[in-house]
């Protein structure tokens, strides 16, 4: 098991070498492990993940359900603490941060997009978008202005005063993207953003993410089952049984695309 972990680590390190070593590392995980429960019933969700995310890339994380994908996500997003190992965001160990610093990190450096949208039910679209800005100390007028801009960016400016319950899933996810973007984060974490959406809507959401990545240079980490993401992303990381199975850049995938399609079908 140790060896597998080391092997995958080696591959992770070697993969970017092909792409260009001038790119800065934004997230690095070292031997990351998470165990739920104790003793006999303990579940090893992650068992030593070593990975690297570069600034400005769009990385897809794939893997069957129960592979530890979401757990990896939550660790990287500083939403949960690891049982073992370290997460370095911009070379800072997340475990060293105080509660207040963590809140600062979550508020301004990372944007979160969830599978189930997690909008606040009693707020309108615009209010949902402005909440993180108020946590960041932006004045209400400024927050409203920026909120409308962002809603315009994701294409639902006309629904700004609707509550989540009055919107379709796609629209809710667009609000969630606008909310994630509102404090100009450097990292966008999207945990299966299209899982609860139909195909066409899912595709347009993915396109929006890609646009944000390309136009604004935001690092996007996106876990998905959706293979359409593969043609948009820079790199793909496969996770299985709590370990990194392999990491490939898109150019390499194109060659093997038939195989992958065959595997999944």
């Amino acid at each position: 098991m140790e060896q597998t972990a080391n092997q995958s680590a080696t591959r992770t390190e070697s993969a970017p070498a092909d792409q260009g070593r001038d790119r800065a590392v934004i997230i690095r995980t070292l031997d990351l492990a998470k165990i739920y429960g104790e003793g006999e019933t303990a579940t090893h969700a992650l068992q030593g993940v070593n990975s690297i995310v570069y600034r400005g890339e769009l990385i897809a994380i794939m893997g069957p359900s129960g592979s530890g994908k979401s757990t990896f996500f939550n660790m990287v997003g500083a939403l949960d603490s690891p049982s073992k190992g370290r997460i370095l965001i911009d070379e800072v160990d997340v475990a060293q941060l105080s509660a207040v610093e963590l809140a600062f990190l979550r508020c301004r450096k990372i944007g979160y997009i969830f599978q189930s949208f997690n909008l606040i039910r009693y707020m309108t679209a615009l209010e949902n978008v402005t909440v993180p800005m108020s946590f960041a100390g932006v004045s209400p007028e400024e927050a409203r202005r920026r909120g409308m801009e962002l809603l315009d960016l994701v294409g639902i400016a006309d629904r700004w005063d609707h509550r989540p319950i009055e919107m379709s899933g796609g629209q809710q996810q667009r609000v969630a993207i606008a909310r994630a973007m509102c404090n100009l984060p450097q990292i966008l974490l999207a945990d299966e953003p299209t899982a609860n959406l139909d195909l066409a809507t899912g595709e347009s959401i993915l396109a929006t993410l890609q646009r944000i990545n390309q136009e604004r240079g935001v690092t996007v980490i996106c876990s998905t089952h959706d293979h359409r993401l593969l043609k948009m992303c820079d790199r793909i990381m496969w996770i299985r049984d709590g370990m990194v199975e392999r990491v490939e850049s898109r150019e390499n995938i194109k060659i093997k695309v038939g195989t992958i399609g065959g595997e999944q079908a």
Binding site: I26, L97, F104, C107
Partner: protein, 489 residues
Amino acid sequence: MKLIEAKKQINLGPARALQLALSGMLYRFFRSGITVAILCLAVAFLVHTLMHGLLTHATEFSAFREIREQRELGALVGRMSRPDSPGMVLDSLAEDRSTRLDEYRTWGRLEDDELAQVGETAKRILQAESYLESLPDDNRAILMGDADILTLLRRFQQRAQYELYLERVEQLALRHPLDGEADFRRLVQVEWPRLSEVLERIREGQNRAIENIREAYPGIGIRQLLIEPPDNFAEVLEQVGFAAQEIDFGRLSEFAAWAEDRQRLEAALTERMVHTALLRRMNVGSEDLSSIAVFNWLASRRGDPQWLSGLLSQSGVEIAPERLDGLADYFIRSDRLQEVAGVEPPTEEAGIFSLEGRLRWLILLAFCVCIVGVANAMLMSVTERFTEIATMKCLGALDGFVMMMFVFEAAIQGFIGGLVGIALGTLLAFARGFVEYGTLLTLTPQIVAQIALAALLSLVVGILLAVLAAVGPSLVAARLAPMEAMRVE
């Protein structure tokens, strides 16, 4: 450029927390409504229990006072017709009731030191009595039979009787009253004869005084004198030794008039003709006709004072129909007062902190119901929003801000629930008081102040309960890592 700078996250002020709490509550209108309803019921229960206790106390107290006044007026009428009983004199002597003492001093021609001496003896007699009363029933029966302390003292003047008593005390292995046998013997053989002689002197003096009143107004009954007191009546009373400055002649004459009319009615009721006619009219069996039964009949819808007045005048008793209605109201009220007042005199002061033990238990119980109900409601309100809390934390909310939101929400709910609960509880308490006591329900300024205090206290308790119940679960929720909170569903 470093990703994480030394900057700290801004903690948003209470205004924003209040705003979020309010908009959240409005959105979950139904849910928060239920929480408010539970709080409202809890506070209403508390308020109702407190207020009902206060109202009951106030009503009982005022009823007791009114009854006591009536009894005193009745006693006053009696005292002007025949001398006070020895027991009554003894009580007055022991209690140092100054106005009575003045009267007795005049009638018994007592010197100050003599008065002090017999007062001391009276106290000792009452002390001995209370000891004998405290004995187990069978022992007391052997020692005293059904005699009271004065009878016993008179009996002990015969040596043989006293010897018998000593023998029985020995057999039963009892303690003697006061400080042992010698002390009690002194009471029986020295102090009692002296007191007995004084009591006799007082009795004679009072008899003489009554005789003097009769002579001053020849041909007029004492009751008639009380109903329509002559101009110089107070002076005449003073002259013969009655403490007339204490007497409210207005109230006394009113009371005497009611009592007089009642007596005339009762006399008429014993006549066969009136008796049978009234029984038939009232449609009751051949029972004894008490005056209170007639009053109740008059106060009911079937009552016919016009007819009764006519019937009474046939047997020579003239009472106007309006007067009959008035009599019915007065004596029914006084009957209800007796019921309400009970036997034990209530204490003077009524306050929410001095309610009797049984009530305290009830209030404690109300508290427990409050705490359980509110804690449950708050726990539900917080747990069903773990996802929301987690989301808020993902967006950069600090633990303190999350806490503040919940505390505000709880406080608002506590406040609204408290206000409605106070209204509801007050309404219930007064409705119940009115059903129980009717027009006898008494409100004094002191009780109103206590009721206001009870309401205020309940409001504070309601808010505190809500906040305290919310702090626990929201503290847990706010401290969880965001993802752990999201997993708890």
